[in-house]
Each structure stands twice: as C-alpha cells, then as structure tokens.
Symmetry: C2
Subunit: 374 residues, 2 copies
C-alpha cells in the first residue's frame, strides 16, 4: 500500500503518519515499561521521551541490558552541515546531551560535510563553504552543554584517515541494489553519495575499533535517518561488531503545521540565527488550532493538537508538564487568544535564542578541545 508521505534523509514529503512509519520500518514503540526502565537509570525521565516525541527505538532494551551488565554504551549522532540550522535540528543533540549527563557516557558527533557537498545541486558551493558552515553548526551543537572530556566532534573530511578505512569495510557489504532500494537512488546518482552511507555507518562501531573490544552504541536520530542506520545495523555484525541501538524522534513541525520544519522553507522555520523581529513575524503567521474569530474561540475553544504554538511548547520550549498542560488548557478553553499565545511563544523562543548565542560565544573559545582531527 502506498503511503501519503515519503521520507528520505534528504526530503520529507506529505503528512507523516508516525504509526505507519513505525510499522513499515519494523521499529519498536517506546512503551511505558521502557520509559520507566530508562527513568530507572537516569533518575528522571526526559520530557521528549515522556511525551513520545522520541517515540520509537531499535534494541534499546538490549542496550540497557548491556549497561546493567557493566558494559556501558557510547552515543553517536551527527549533522549534515547547513547554513540554516533550525530549532528542529537541535532535537537529537538535546537528547544526546541529556543522555551523556545521565549515563555519564561518551558522545561522538559526526559533521558530514561531504554529504552536504555531494547533495548540493548548486555548482558554486564548495567543500570549504560547507566546512565553514559546519564549524558554526558544531558550535550550536556543543553549546547545548556537552562535556568536553566525554565528547568528540569531527568533520568527515578532516577525520577521513580514520573513517574511510572503516567505511571501506562497511562498503564491501553493501551493493548498489541495496542503496538504490534504501534511498531510492537512480543510475544518475553521483558515486560519492552512493558511497556515503558507509561513512555514516563507520562511527557506529568506531569506539569498538579504537578500544579493540565490542562497545555498544546508541544513536538518537530523527526518523529520516533510520535508513542509514538500518544499513549500518545490517553490516555491523558481519564485521564482528554490535548493531547500534537507535532511538527515534518525530519531526518538529513547520510553522504552517507541515510535518517537518524544513531548512529550505524559510517562512515556516525558526533558524538559530533569526533576529527577535524575525521570530515575532514568523510566529505571528504560525498556524494555530483556534477558531476563525476571537468570539468563536472564546465560545468554543481551540485544538492544541493542531496548534503549532502549543506543539512548539510540547516539543521543545516547555519541559514542565504542568505548565504545558496549562498552555494546552488555555488553548482548549478559549481563555488565551492567538495573539497573546503567539506573543508568549515568540518571547520564549527569543529568550532561548539569546541565551543560546551567549553560550555559543563561550564555547567558541574552547571548541578546539572538542574537535578531533586525524
């Protein structure tokens, strides 16, 4: 049966049905039992897991079994550098940073500069341009509070001596047929992007290579990256390594209510570089779940599940469940009108961005200590 949506690492189209994706991909739901189990180790639950924004996984129970047996994991996550880093792009790193803190584990962050270069149609964009942008992205990521002694950040091109060797081992086990099916590539796809998935697989067992023993790996990721990691999971045991465990998030919606905040859709996206005024203007245009007029909204109330403003609090800006319930209730009962609602969200976002930029400048001075170069 054809779906009404399609998801690749490079494009999300249509309205994503997360349950259908879960079923089609053979990933498992994070149920209450697993939520409780995670909270057992971390002391508290993370709001993104609690609210089922991180809603699915592969082998997370196995990973926690290993952890219980005294075989701790490391976290691998990453980013294809782009100029328009959005709030949505931060989500895997928010969870990764929290997991690092709670489990006290190492984090490897891959900046796949060559992937972005290889997928850009514009012939004027150079690898150096992407690298420069990636450096800023890296700062945005590390500023979330990653611990220097437990975090390694690397660009693929700067770390290729380590990565290429391991990627080649992966690549030997993947045919063109496989990537054709997995990513929907045609024969007109460039051979760099055909090979690339093996570069993304390599860090999923890199710590095992470095330590000459099998180290479990956990990858927090948005669901569009599942396909890369599925290939990595297929190959890892053939090389004698554990399959990486995965924890999957939904997408932060676009301001128009579309499934994914897309960095190429300027009006529906909050960038980390947006000015206060830009944020205000954009949020003012955001879709809400309210009635057509203030009168009607006061009378009938709105629908927080369809309201982007409410969803942004849920996904990112309001970790406190009680406060979030208050916001949802105010939307539902018509006591808070769209204008006020949006004003508050814009203020919250601007406060977050302001603080984020301040932290970024602090991290700029020490970022070199995080970067691994071959």
């Amino acid at each position: 049966m054809a779906n009404d949506f399609s998801i690749t690492p490079w494009k999300v189209e249509g309205t994503v049905d997360y349950d259908v994706f879960l079923k089609d991909s053979g990933i498992s739901r994070i149920d209450d039992q697993l939520k409780t189990r995670i909270a057992k180790y971390t002391g508290a639950s993370h709001f993104m897991i609690r609210r089922e924004i991180y809603y699915a996984h592969r082998d997370l129970n196995w990973l926690l079994d290993q952890y219980e047996k005294g075989n701790p994991f490391y976290i691998f996550t990453g980013r294809g550098p782009s100029g328009g880093m959005t709030i949505g792009h931060l989500m895997p790193f928010v969870l990764a940073q929290w997991l690092q803190e709670k489990f006290g584990v190492d984090v490897y962050i891959q900046m796949s500069d060559e992937e972005k270069y290889l997928s850009k149609k514009d012939p004027n964009v150079t690898l150096e341009d992407i690298h420069k942008i990636g450096y800023e992205n890296m700062l945005d990521i590390v500023s979330l509070g990653f611990k220097q002694s437990k975090t390694k950040v690397f660009f693929d091109t700067d770390n290729a001596k380590t990565l290429y060797k391991n990627a080649v081992r992966v690549a030997k086990h993947i045919t063109f047929s496989t990537v054709k099916d997995a990513f929907g590539f045609g024969n007109d796809m460039n051979i760099g992007l055909i090979f690339y998935t093996s570069m993304q697989a390599a860090p999923a067992f890199l710590k095992s290579v470095e330590e000459h023993k099998n180290v479990p790996c956990l990858v927090p990721l948005a669901i569009d990256q599942d396909v890369h990691l599925r290939l990595a999971r297929d190959v890892a045991p053939k090389l004698g390594y554990y399959k990486p465990a995965l924890i999957h998030s939904k997408f932060l919606p676009g301001l128009d209510g579309s499934s994914k905040m897309s960095s190429s859709d300027k009006n529906n996206t909050i960038y980390l570089t947006d000015t206060e005024e830009e944020v205000r203007v954009k949020i003012n245009r955001a879709l809400t779940g309210q009635q057509a007029t203030a009168e009607l909204q006061k009378k009938y109330g709105g629908n927080p599940d369809k309201c982007v403003v409410c969803q942004y609090y849920k996904y990112f800006f309001e970790p406190d469940d009680k406060k979030l319930n208050g916001i949802f209730e105010a939307e539902r009962n018509g006591s808070m009108l769209a204008g006020e609602h949006k004003k508050h969200l814009a203020e919250t976002i601007n406060a977050f961005l302001k603080k984020h930029r301040q932290k970024k400048e602090i991290y700029r001075k020490k970022i070199d200590k995080y970067i691994v170069v071959d």
Copy 2:
C-alpha cells in the same frame, strides 16, 4: 562490432589487439616524431618507447609543450597491492623511474589497498593483510631506483585525509551510469568499488591542490587502467585542473603466450619472489616460436614474434637493441635451440631477481623516508 578480447582493470580476457584497443579508446599512437621529441629532452630514448611497448598516449605533446614553456610536470602511477607481484607489474615503474631521472620530476605512487580489499571475493582477507602485502610491493617498486627527495609513496587508507576530500570533489561529477558503462558494473557491485575510481583520480591533480596552481601530470600505465584515468580526465577540467596526460604500455605476455602475465595464473607468471629453480622450471615450459623438433628448427628457423623467450628480452630484459637483434636473429635462423635459449633467459631473470632482492633490502632501511602518511 564486438572484440575478441575484453579489458577491465580487474581482468583481461582473450587475445588483445593493441591497434583495435587504440582505435576503440580514442588514444593516440606514439609515432616517430613523438619518439624523437621525447628523446630530445631525455638525451636518449627508452627501449620500451623505442620498441613501442609504450605505444600510445593521451596529450603527451601538450605535456611536452608545457615542459618547454617552463611548466614541468609530475608523474603519478600506482599499484593495487597483491601478494603475487610479477615482472609485468614493474613495467609502469621502470618507465616512471626513467622519466624521473631524465626530466628531474617528482613522482607520486599510490598504493590502492582499499581497491584490492574491495575487489577480493575471499571474506578472510583483511585490509591489514593487503596493507602488509602492499608494504612489500612498495619496496619492490621503490627499489627500481626512485629518488627519495622526489618521490612520495602512499597507501590510500593512510592518506585518506588528503585523498578522500579530493575524491569527493571528483565523485560529485561521476554517476553510477558512468561507472556502470566504464567498468561494466552491475547493480550487485559493492559501493566501495563504485566510489573507488574517484580515489584513483585524486592524485592526478593532487600536486595542483598542494601548490595552489595548475601542475601538469603524466601517468605511465598499462592499457587496462586507461578507463580510470579517462574518468579522471573528464572530471579534472570541471574542478579547474589540467587533464592528466597518459602514456600507455602493452602487457608483458604470459609464459604461454597469452596476452597478459596474470598474477592469478601461477604457471605462466614470473613472480618477484620466485626461486631460481622455479624460474628455470617455468621458463622451460614457456612457449617459443620454434619448430616442433630441433632438426626442423635448425632447417627452417623460428618466429621471434611468437616466441615468449624473445619477447621477454624485448619487453624487459635486453635494453640493448643490437643484442636484442642478435637474439631475434638466432631464433630466426635456427642457430639457437629452445633449450639453450631458455637457459639464457632463466639465467638473465635470476640475475635480475637476485640483484632486485639485494636492492630491496637496502631500500627497506630507508623506505620510511618515501612514505607519506596523513
């Protein structure tokens, strides 16, 4: 029109018609004028060029124009490491060493360990195994007399920080369709080998990258590698670099008279590691152009063009034209019978191998100075 032979970088089948290959590939013949032109700079001609063993080229006149204008070239050549390095495998390096000496130019030698790993069917062969073998190959190559101050040898996996970055630039301009057509790949080809041609292209403009200016490049190669370099030539101008010029050799024949001495066909191949006895036994079995009996041979004489013994002198073991003519004449007029003929060749080969191994041990002590590691 289908040919009776097929040539890929991984396999040569049938009896190669070098004229047909030249025509089909659009490469140019090295004519007398070009031979004379080369000799003008080198002071003397090389027997392999004189005898049209190096018989074809791409853009060699352009390269010499550049040289005349004071824009000297560098040489790029390489080897996919294998345990069975043969006399035939030395041919590109013999010419490269001579060109280095005569033109005083730099030489880059690529050891494509990942290529061999990716193309091996045997799942027990590791990248480390290939690397180890490659180290011995490297010694065999450098022992031909490459000048330390002007020679860089590198393994792809050890130099991937430099190579991968540049290979990615190449890869963006090559589609799967292109490699499918060029190498005859099917959809079952692994994605490592699909990507690999861009790693082989990178050193063809590496010096230009290093020196931030366009440096001409000359690649001595056997004709089976033309396809890789043709792709490199297609892409180089798109990246702003000169197309590498090429000089093509024929294959050293197998002992049975087959077109190419193949490292996988033990009985018809002289390995650099063969013992004196092995060489004697193998040469004794070699195809000659002689008559069925000594009587007939004395009466009618033989055909040196069909005689592997004569051809080995021509291709490799007798640089002196007068002496070679003597050998050919003795075959033609029936004055030297097969047994004696073969005995002399076996002695010549064994003397070469003995000296080669002695040199190899001398170079073993200084090889580290030639190796470039990222």
